[in-house]
Symmetry: C2
């Protein structure tokens, strides 16, 4: 099996898929593209984002069709990812490697397969769609790989090589549980909280608009993300999302107990001192670790 990727097939030509296509073509990799929206495929071909087109999942689901394809990459929303992986059973356990890019992994449960490796290239933007494609979107970014099906080393290495060499990403390996909890804490919860905060301002009937203070801007950006994709992420990762929320509530309650001076503290300290110390420690942790 050729561990160097020479020809790939990308399923899903939104911002992520099209950016992978551009970066791959810039390294001389041949790219076939497919999207459920045939206009996207046409546009991608006309804009030289892909070299040629596949016409359906049925066409792709064939050993003969995929014989010369080294790597199939799914760049579609989390729920559809599982459906499409299940629709490619003819390609399971062949020399063609399959990977995907979903930001939740625990629902991807498949048995008896040894050529599927999961990937999560950590990059994105406010924008979506083919026209937002950017050849350098992934350059020097992180990509978290998971190998829950214990796929063969050659398949794993091929995926790892592709992201590190062709897309110049830094890869890390995690278990699915590590991945989903970490992304619940660092991405899914921030998005959920942002939706909740904006909703509470809406329900308060206060005319906030352009009198809003510094801080809301960040939450506004997050709450503007694609509602359909985020609904699915919240649902699919709800167990870890609630774990992450429970953790945040503990920290929030601790800060609130200091702010309201209801926390029991030693006489030699004041609530103000301890609150300042806590905020300092959080700031230092942030500066050390991120």
């Amino acid at each position: 099996m050729n561990l160097n990727v020479e020809r790939i097939l990308i399923i899903g030509l939104g911002m992520i898929g099209a950016s992978i296509a551009l970066a791959s073509r810039s390294k001389g990799i041949k790219v076939t593209g497919y999207d459920i929206d045939s206009n996207s495929v046409k546009n991608a071909f006309q804009n030289q984002i892909i070299d040629d087109e596949a016409s359906s999942i049925e066409q792709i689901n064939s050993k003969k069709y995929t014989k010369d394809i080294d790597l199939i990459i799914l760049a579609i929303p989390p729920k559809q990812t599982l459906d499409v992986l299940n629709s490619l059973q003819e390609v399971w356990n062949t020399d063609t490697t399959i990977t995907e890019t979903s930001s939740v992994k625990n629902h991807i449960k498949i048995e008896g397969v040894s050529n599927i490796v999961l990937s999560h290239p950590i990059a994105g933007s406010d924008q979506s769609g083919l026209l937002a494609a950017d050849e350098n979107l992934f350059k020097n970014k992180k990509n978290v790989l998971c190998n829950p099906f214990n796929s063969d080393k050659d398949h794993y290495d091929k995926v790892e090589n592709f992201w590190s060499n062709a897309l110049q990403m830094k890869t890390a390996l995690m278990t699915v549980s590590e991945h989903d909890l970490i992304f619940a804490m660092t991405s899914h919860l921030p998005h959920l909280i942002s939706y909740a905060l904006i909703d509470s301002i809406r329900l308060s009937n206060n005319d906030v608009g352009d009198n809003a203070g510094g801080g809301i801007k960040e939450f506004l950006r997050l709450s503007g993300s694609n509602p359909e994709m985020w609904r699915d992420i919240f649902m699919l990762n709800r167990v870890d999302l609630i774990k992450a929320l429970a953790g945040m509530q503990v920290s929030l309650n601790n800060l609130l107990e200091l702010i309201t001076e209801t926390k029991q503290i030693p006489d030699i300290f004041s609530h103000l001192e301890i609150l300042k110390k806590e905020l300092d420690e959080i700031k230092s942790y942030k500066e050390d670790k991120f």
Copy 2:
């Protein structure tokens, strides 16, 4: 009384005070500066951020000293703002107008004064200190004025004129309660939540670091703000902060009930549909109002 401001005195030469100084000088306004840190005053003078120096609050607290000063602007943290206003009693009820820039207002309680007007220029950055000063920091930004002491119209107009004409800001008038609740919702709560989220990641002992997902970046910026100032803001505005948090929890619980499918909904709908609808509505509200 001259409603056009020709000479101002700025107390506090951090990023905010020094930026006001630069913008004022660019409009030909003479600027005297004072800071508790005498090095800041020296640096501001040497860097031509101010025209001349005051040496102490005691010196400033004199009718004679402030006779030619049209406007005194405090650009210091919220708690010190009240202390310094109280230390300027010789200047109370003179032709010199006094304003300040604190992001909380409810603690500023003074009786028998008619020349103090409160301001909140909404601008800032990650940076702090004299060297982060920026002549254009406030240009075209909002400035929320409060007049809780019913100060004389001339004093109010002078402050309003200064911000609109000299600093080219858009002004709005609010009551102190409106101001503090709106800023609790749009600024103080986002900061508190960001500190809590980063703290919960710290306590989880997960090695998140550079494997963090999209979303955390926004929270990281907020939790890096000055801990001493934020401790004071949280404490001083704790009643409205908790009101804002209660509102957010209602919205969060509603989303969680949909995500966990525990909410009672009519048979003809699914939790998925209703969750999508809620997220869509939040996104549209955001796009309409902000």
